[in-house]
């Protein structure tokens, strides 16, 4: 069976005044209907990998890959319009902070309706019903009321649920979640993750979970890619986290405190030039 997503030697570079910056430098992996975590510090290229798959890289950037296949469709070779119509329909992405990623002057309900109407011929009445259903699916208790609220009128957790609803309402096959809980309060994080977890399981989606938090990713995903300076330095299954070989991964793991142990001095994340080679 063909995998859901095949990425081979993905490269993303940005031209700047002082020369080109290579954000992603040869990332390869493939994904079935499973959960893959991508972990790395900021600037490691994890977010740009996700955006390149979605086709959301800024215009001036250069995106190349030996293969970038969604099912058996070549994402880089297809006309822009077809690729656009895949977004939101079969490929979707959740962004970090609902405070910025929802349009502030549009009600939440209409923003979700917009996704539906872009991809399906559907009457306004049916669209509204579908959206209310979706809002319920992300465990919003009174969807009728939330439908008419503006983003600034809801809490962060509620906003992120609306974001999830907006991206999943068309039933995509692959979801990329780019730090979906990093901007939320700790208590809300777990609830949002639980909702995401349930929906991904129920609908049998593939998931790419991009985060800086190795522990979080490992509890949530089947496999983890560790990225550093635009490359994958290690691929692990979540069960075997403690067998990490690469010193960078070990460093990430060591950053976490353990109950009952005293650590002086606190470990500092090491970075060595040769890892980036």
């Amino acid at each position: 069976m063909t995998p859901l997503l095949t990425v081979e030697d993905l490269r993303v570079s940005f031209p700047t005044r002082t020369g080109t910056v290579d954000a992603v430098r040869g990332v390869s992996f493939s994904l079935g209907r499973e959960r893959l975590g991508i972990v790395g510090e900021s600037g490691s290229g994890k977010s740009q990998t996700g955006r390149a798959i979605m086709g959301l890289t800024p215009n001036q950037a250069d995106v190349r890959a030996k293969k970038l296949l969604f099912g058996d469709m070549d994402l880089l070779a297809m006309p822009p319009k077809e690729r656009r119509l895949l977004r939101g329909k079969r490929l979707a992405m959740i962004l970090q902070d609902p405070k910025y990623s929802l349009n502030p002057v549009m009600t939440i309900g209409l923003q979700i309706v917009e996704t539906l109407k872009t991809h399906e011929r559907i009457s306004s009445k049916d669209a509204r019903a579908r959206v209310l259903q979706m809002l319920e699916a992300v465990q919003i208790n009174d969807p009728e009321r939330v439908f008419d609220l503006y983003p600034h009128e809801v809490s962060g957790g509620m906003g992120q649920r609306a974001m999830i609803a907006m991206m999943l309402v068309c039933g995509p096959d692959l979801l990329i979640a780019d730090e979906p809980t990093s901007a939320l309060d700790v208590t809300v994080q777990l609830e949002v993750l639980a909702i995401l977890d349930k929906l991904v399981a129920e609908r049998g989606m593939g998931l790419i979970f991009v985060s800086h938090d190795l522990r979080l990713v490992s509890t949530f995903c089947d496999r983890v890619l560790v990225m550093y300076a635009g490359r994958v330095v290690e691929e692990l299954s979540s069960a075997n986290l403690d067998q990490a070989q690469h010193p960078y991964t070990q460093g990430l793991l060591n950053c976490l405190p353990h109950i009952g142990s005293h650590r002086h001095p606190l470990p500092v994340l090491e970075r060595q030039k040769e890892w980036a080679e």
């Binding site: 959301l56 977004r87 502030p104 009174d142 503006y150 600034h152 809490s155 208590t187």
Partner: protein, 355 residues
């Protein structure tokens, strides 16, 4: 709001109206003090700066007894603060004095000519907004391209060109040489006898009465001064639109909109522009106010019988009451437009609406 309360939603409906009303109250108080200050300034200009205010009002050819009468009316023998109080009472009752030039009360004159200026400034603003917003959007979307540079230069020239000069050249070209537009003035003399305006806004009146010949003639008269003012408004609006759009297009909600699979056209014209529209309203209001000012020179060139021409004619004839009356009215309209744009801003932006 407690972070634990995950269904927490800030309460909206009840608070909305009082917040709006209190903002309105605050602004009205501010507008009132500004108006008071405005009158203080015009009082100062009219009564304190001139060596003999009575002479400044009636002119130095007036007979002695007239000058004396005015002196008494103004209370020039009283202390300044009492004079100011008299001035305020007069203005409050709509008395700006009598125009030497027209011998009418200044307020009557202003009410007669002001619709013409409003009509011209409105046409100018419509032209400026209809062309300026798309140009600004284009410049922002194609940032750094030739189109962006062209829009930038069009705007800069608009900021730099003397309006009365451009008006003169435009008249020579489009009226004298090409004959595309009508001669200076508001409408052909023939229609002065056949057409009776009801509101003073001739275009509206003519359309209302179904006088299509008159509408066409009015259009041929207003198009050139309107386009000229429109150009200045365009320069400002396109520049600000570009800046606002660049800001909106770099926001995360634009990435989210792309991730939903929306077309670029919808993202630009619906999502980004709808957000940029909130500050743009203020810009358009400011540009409208600016056109009222620009009309002073434009009306002189195009013999447009509005407030600008009234003020400059009065200036030329040292008709101080008329000049100051016109100044107060334009200042008051400025304050009013600011109030209006602030209120519009609040209704357009859901974030300020409920705050």
């Amino acid at each position: 709001m407690a972070p634990m309360d995950t269904s927490a939603v800030t309460r909206r409906p009840q608070r909305r109206v009082p917040a709006f009303a209190s903002a309105l109250m605050r602004f009205i108080v501010m507008a009132a003090t500004t108006l008071l200050g405005l009158l203080a300034v015009t009082f100062f200009i009219g009564r304190v700066i001139p060596i003999d205010p009575a002479l400044a009002i009636v002119g130095d050819r007036a007979p002695q007894h007239v000058v004396e009468r005015i002196r008494l009316e103004l209370g020039l023998d009283l202390p300044l603060y009492q004079q100011f109080w008299i001035y305020l009472k007069q203005v409050a009752s709509g008395d700006f004095g009598t125009s030497v030039l027209t011998t009418n009360p200044v307020l009557t004159d202003i009410l007669r000519v002001f619709p013409a200026t409003i009509e011209l400034a409105t046409v100018g603003t419509i032209i400026g907004a209809v062309l300026g917003i798309p140009l600004g959007v284009l410049a922002a979307v194609k940032r750094g391209s030739i189109a962006d540079q062209v829009v930038r230069v069009i705007g800069l020239v608009g900021y730099s060109v003397p309006i009365f000069w451009l008006g003169l050249l435009a008249l020579v070209l489009f009226y004298a040489k090409l004959g595309w537009v009508a001669y200076p003035g508001r409408m052909d003399i023939v229609y002065e006898y056949t057409f009776t305006p009801t509101t003073g806004f001739y275009l509206v009146d003519a359309i209302w009465q179904g006088e299509w010949d008159v509408v066409r003639d009015l259009f041929r008269h207003i198009i050139l001064p309107g386009a000229l003012l429109g150009y200045f408004s365009l320069a400002y609006i396109s520049r600000m639109t570009r800046s606002f759009m660049l800001n909106e297009l770099s926001q995360e909600y634009i990435v989210a909109a792309r991730a939903k699979g929306l077309s670029e056209a919808r993202i630009i014209w619906f999502h980004a522009l709808r957000n940029a529209a909130v500050p743009l309203v203020t810009v358009i209001a400011l540009s409208y106010a600016g056109l009222l000012e620009g009309s002073v020179l434009t009306e002189t060139i195009f013999a447009w019988p509005g407030l600008g021409l009234y003020i400059t004619n009065s200036l030329q004839n040292a008709d101080m009451n008329a000049v100051l009356g016109g100044t107060v009215v334009i200042g008051a309209v400025f304050v009013g437009i600011n109030l209006l744009s602030d209120l519009l801003y609040r209704t357009l932006d859901p974030r300020t609406r409920s705050r």
